[in-house]
């Protein structure tokens, strides 16, 4: 606990979130990190659809996907679902 955290009189009651979920980084929960083999990847986007955290996003400007390691918890669902086995879970 840090001194920046607020006391019970300062926070919203009923645990109503006073910050958006994007300010609660969960990326450091992971043990294994998904790494993509760009040669195998067909950009079918199944990984982005299956990611339970929305941590794989389609970037139109790059015409490619991007892993957001700030939120990826390392669950490995993307690697499991990838039809061409282009994602490998590597120990961080």
């Amino acid at each position: 606990m840090t001194s920046q955290e607020k006391g019970w009189k300062e926070i919203s009651i009923a645990a109503i979130c006073w910050k958006p979920s994007t300010e609660f980084l969960t990326g450091d929960w992971k043990t294994y990190k998904p790494v993509r083999d760009l040669e195998k990847c067909t950009k079918c986007l199944l990984c982005a659809i299956f990611c339970p955290d929305g941590a794989i996003q389609w970037k139109p400007e790059k015409e490619d996907i991007e892993f957001d390691y700030n939120f990826c918890k390392g669950c490995g669902i993307c690697a499991n679902e990838c039809p061409v086995k282009a994602i490998e879970m590597k120990l961080e």
Binding site: M1, E5, K6, G7, W8, I11, S12, I13, A14, A15, I16, C17, W18, K19, P20, S21
Partner: protein, 410 residues
């Protein structure tokens, strides 16, 4: 007592008194599952719904766990919400009782107190609500059907007070109160509607950085019931404890305001004393037993014995200062518990009362009587026996058996 509003007298049992009070309290949602001895409450209320006498959304659920979950969700949208249960039904709600108080949803629930299985028993004791005393709900125990009616109306105001915002149980002894018909004076519909008013909401800061009323609203989205880690969970629990402290004041204020309209009061709303001012010996109890004890106190007083009674109307929050004030001068106190705390030192009410008196320089003797389990009747003679024991303790100057059983075959 002054009576400022004209009232009509109805013959109602405790359960019907609950249903009638809920009908008048402008409730938006009732979700419930039947269980003896509470069933009549919801049955009567469903008749009001079917007859078009109320505009309440009535939800029949498949279990008590679902009933309270539905009430919680409805309450979080800002609705005034009511349910009723007892015994195993309340036990099945256990998980959701904590979620409801933690989400600060001011659901009001009537409990027709009933024993817990096994062995199965449908009769009245207070094991069910005592087992939930740490669930973060306000608990009010009524003495008679009139007080049941009055307490339900007050409970909406107490629970929904923006500085309290805690769920509240109104407890009525199963069968003794739930099924016994009494004369109940009821206020006119418009008087109750005005008294309960429109639900008010405290303001909260949301993730959008806005201060908005605490209710689910698509225009002002908020995250309710989120995950809280070790760095914040504790602070939210401390807030609930503070709300209980505020409730001590609000229960009194609402009680006093109601007394002005109805002409009826119950002590200060927290503690109801009977001949305690100069009492040397006193009984402490909850609920309908107080009626029997009062009769015995009258007899003893006629005999010149300084006997008194403290009926705890509010058990959560516990009126610690009040208990110290009204019992501090008494020489010997017998606390009656209609439930057991297996393996503990006496029953739950005994724990609290003895504990509250511990800090006094001069403490009364405090002993415990477990009674009435599974609906066993407790007679005036047995109550008299308790007062006799207290006199004996004073004569001997010591307590030999701190925890005893009333009406139990050895």
């Amino acid at each position: 007592m002054m009576k400022s509003v004209e009232q009509k007298t109805l013959a109602l049992n405790g359960n019907e008194a609950v249903a009638y009070a809920v009908k008048q309290s402008d409730v938006d949602v009732v979700a419930a599952y039947p269980i003896t001895p509470q069933t009549i409450i919801v049955e009567r209320f469903s008749e009001y719904v079917a007859n078009g006498e109320v505009e309440t959304a009535f939800v029949c659920t498949e279990s008590e766990h679902s009933a309270l979950t539905a009430c919680l969700a409805a309450s979080l949208t800002g609705a005034r919400t009511f349910t009723a249960s007892a015994s195993a039904g309340l036990a099945l709600m256990h998980e959701m009782l904590f979620v409801t108080s933690g989400c600060r949803a001011p659901v009001v629930m009537a409990i027709a107190n009933r024993a817990l299985s096994a062995p199965i028993n449908i009769h009245g004791d207070q094991s069910d609500t005592m087992a939930q005393r740490d669930s973060g709900w306000i608990q009010i125990y009524a003495e008679n059907a009139q007080e049941v009616y009055d307490s339900i109306i007050q409970a909406f105001r107490i629970a929904e007070h923006p500085d309290v915002l805690l769920p509240a149980m109104v407890c009525l002894d199963g069968f003794q109160l739930s099924h016994s018909v009494e004369n109940v004076n009821v206020l006119p519909d418009e008087v109750v509607k005005k008294f309960v008013g429109v639900r008010q909401y405290p303001m909260v800061l949301t993730h959008e950085g806005k201060m908005v009323p605490l209710k689910l609203d698509p225009e002002n989205p908020m995250t309710m019931g989120p995950l809280a880690f070790p760095n914040y969970y504790f602070e939210f629990k401390r807030q609930q404890e503070e709300a209980m402290k505020v409730a001590l004041r609000v229960i009194r204020e609402v009680h006093d305001e109601y007394a002005k309209i109805s002409g009826r009061s119950y002590g200060d709303g927290l503690l109801d004393s009977y001949f305690l001012e100069d009492a040397e010996i006193a009984i402490v109890c909850l609920g309908s037993t107080a009626g029997t004890v009062k009769t015995v106190v009258d007899e003893l007083r006629a005999e010149g014995i300084k006997a008194g009674l403290l009926r705890m109307r509010t058990f959560r929050p516990l009126p610690v200062d009040g208990i110290k004030k009204v019992l501090g001068h008494v020489k010997a106190v017998a606390v009656m518990d209609k439930s057991m705390s297996f393996g503990g030192f006496g029953g739950a009410v005994f724990h609290e009362v003895r504990h509250a008196l511990y800090d006094l320089d001069k403490k009364p003797f405090v002993v415990n009587y477990i009674y009435g389990l599974g609906g066993r009747d407790t007679s005036p003679m047995q109550i008299r026996g308790i007062y006799n024991d207290l006199q004996e303790i004073l004569a001997k100057g010591r307590v030999e058996t701190p925890v005893k059983y009333v009406g139990l075959r050895e």
